[in-house]
Amino acid sequence: MKKNGFFTLMLHAHLPFINHPDFKQYMEERWLFEAITETYIPFLMVFKNLESKKIFFRITMSITPPLMEMLVNKDLQEKYLNYLDSSIALAKKEIEKTKDENEKKLKMAKYYYEKLNEIKKFYLKCNGNILSEFASFQEKGYLEIITCNATHGFLPLMLRYPEAVKAQIEIGVQTYENYMGKKPRGTWLAECAYVPGVDKYLSEAGLKFFFVDTHGLIYGDPTPKYGVYEPVITPEGVFVLARDPESSQQVWSAEVGYPGDPAYREFYKDVGFERDNEYISPYIDPSGIRCNTGIKYYRITGKNVSIDDKDYYDIDKAKEVVKIHAKDFAHKKKEQILRLSKEMGDVSPNIVAPFDAELYGHWWYEGPMFIEALFEELASIPEVIPATPPEVFEQMDAVQVVVPNSSTWGANGYNEVWLNGKNDWIYRHLDEMTERMIRLATIHKNTSDPNIEAALNQMARELLLAQSSDWAFIITTGTTVEYAENRTKFFLNNFMNIEKEVNDDNIDKKYIEKLNWLDAIFPKIDFRVFAKH
């Protein structure tokens, strides 16, 4: 009987492509800025800490193509620095303000001021090139960075059009190669959404592994011998890893998950909503719409404590709890591996724990600290070996052939989040545009006219952007519905406008250039990916 097993932490870093170069500030662009400040740079800092402490760690991380494109976008980089300066200015102002308010608030104001300055220093030191910082950790073997389909398109509703699925997958690979300088070995499927048939295109694109939700394997054909605790392979020759429900519950569960601890920072109480207008207006959206600033003084306090009765947050107390939680989780993984080993004989179990990367830091402020503390704990637990998927495959003696079940990681496990009465209107338009794209790409696949090429490339960008699963998701969750609907319509209209010009043989070069500036994604795209061969 084996007495050890593998632990694969998988972090899915993704944001939809939001780029408004014609605006000095755009509220939804703050999603990226908040994620850089609270998640991506804190991750890099954690990796550096672990490296300098010589702690063994392995993390698998998907950085999606839209996120890659936004991280390298010069305009967004400049805007991010402005955002950061504004946040630092607010933190400084908060130090003065909280002197008369409360000692604990003052302590946190000083903490934010220092932290934000550290973030800025880090960002400037790497010249804004966060991607190459992540890549350097991959080169050292700590990270396995994988790709995702091009614009996070929801593949189960696209499978009628093989060219569309192929385009999503191939452009995902291309973008990775473009910015990481090598081919990805694995991929995350947007929304963890798998449908039989997708693996064929993954295999054709040279991808060796992907992830599914628990029921993707448990209800697979056949149910794998070791459930979700050993990777399987599809008949197309692509390895599949599945989510361990136990790990997810420990971290995610609203009832028992770590992020809900009373000592942790309360996400929903931010000075952006609390200070008076005159004071806060320079730091929120210019329209006056209130938004998060990242400066928060309260802790969760308790499950049934109303938002007005929250107690003050103390970062040092939270750090103590982080250590307790990391220790608890590490030991639970050890117990789980011993339990699984007992059942699995000579096969080493593999626990796969996938999460949205932005859960750590942005939503769960102490998340990056948790990851650091977790690997510190695991370093003294030989039974649990942190491993990336290729490292797991290397250790396997045999792999079972299984066709995974159609599944997603959305509510109830299938397509409900992305196909329901609120958002189903999107798909008739996406289908129509996909058919038109395939038709035009096939007609013009041998063209050498640069104007036609530029026009069709931009049509492909607009279609891909409209396909992003984020719009349907946002419409379902009811957060920024108007924005999501408008984005969808904006991309579809751009597509139709260019199509008309192509069909009328009347391409307006300046118009295409302007759209290429507004929707500046995938500079190396070739529309022929949509052509029928």
């Binding site: 060796k208 605790y229 719409i289 052939v401 408008n486």
Partner: protein, 256 residues
């Protein structure tokens, strides 16, 4: 605050308190002595000056570039309601729900109008049969308004094949006008198999495994041998409830 919301407040005959509150949210400076119409004027001026609500312009966009077609990355125009093509599309939502949507050409709409009879959307279970239009295992149907464009059906079987149809009944016989694509609903239960297929990774480099290799292993009947020689006997028969019980024991969260 979005322009649309501000406009609605103005149109709804607001009180001076409402207007003061709105102006405050818009960060407009008010004097204590200002009257209702003066505040209203100020808000209207704000609306005129702020075409975009959630953000503001950096510079004037490049005037040389096609301003008439695209105002900014914020501009939104309506999209067509129909593409006037005959199309019926079926998608699964979950193991027991499917979504049927349709669009019609002018000719089809004219035909349906001329017939002046009820139109039906149907979803037919065609699992394990060659469907000839009449031999479906089970039919789920609903009379539909032609313009509705979509309908959700609650179907009985998971892991089953379905096809959608739009048509009408003539002398109690269904006359199908347009058929959809065929779909298979996802499974919602484990599947047991009498045989397992395993590939020995000692003999086959994982990096080079592809469909062809897997097919050739299958042809050479290497699968069974691999399983017997390499895997703990206790696990040789996972095709049983016992196996699932074991899986349940080793997991403590989530759902099966």
């Amino acid at each position: 605050m979005k322009n649309e919301k501000i406009k609605k407040i103005i149109e709804d005959n607001p009180s001076i308190q409402d207007l003061r509150k709105t102006a405050k949210l818009l960060n407009l400076r008010l004097k204590r002595t200002m009257k209702k119409r003066e505040i209203l004027k100020l808000i209207k001026k704000y609306l005129e000056e702020n075409v975009e609500t959630s953000s503001y312009r950096k510079n004037e966009p490049n005037k040389n570039v096609c301003e008439e077609k695209i105002e900014s990355s914020h501009a939104v125009k309506a999209i067509p309601k129909t593409y006037k093509k005959d199309a019926v599309i079926l998608d699964y939502v979950s193991p027991y729900w499917v979504h049927l949507r349709w669009d019609f050409s002018d000719n089809t709409i004219d035909l349906l109008k001329s017939l002046d009879i009820p139109v039906f959307a149907r979803v037919v279970d065609i699992t394990n049969i060659i469907y000839n239009g009449f031999n479906g295992n089970k039919v789920f149907q609903s009379e539909i308004p032609v313009g509705a464009g979509k309908y959700y059906f609650n179907v009985e079987n998971q892991n089953a094949n379905y096809i959608g149809e739009i048509g009408y009944y003539m002398d109690e016989t269904f006359s199908c006008l347009i058929k959809s694509n065929i779909i298979k609903t996802p499974s919602s239960s484990p599947k047991f198999s009498k045989s397992e297929k395993w590939i020995l990774l000692k003999s086959h480099d994982w990096k080079k495994l592809d469909k062809e290799t897997i097919n050739s292993i299958e042809k050479n009947e290497e699968f069974k041998g691999s399983l017997t020689s390499e895997i703990n006997l206790e696990y040789l028969n996972p095709s049983s409830g016992e196996h699932i019980k074991k899986l349940s024991k080793i997991k403590s969260g989530g759902k099966l």
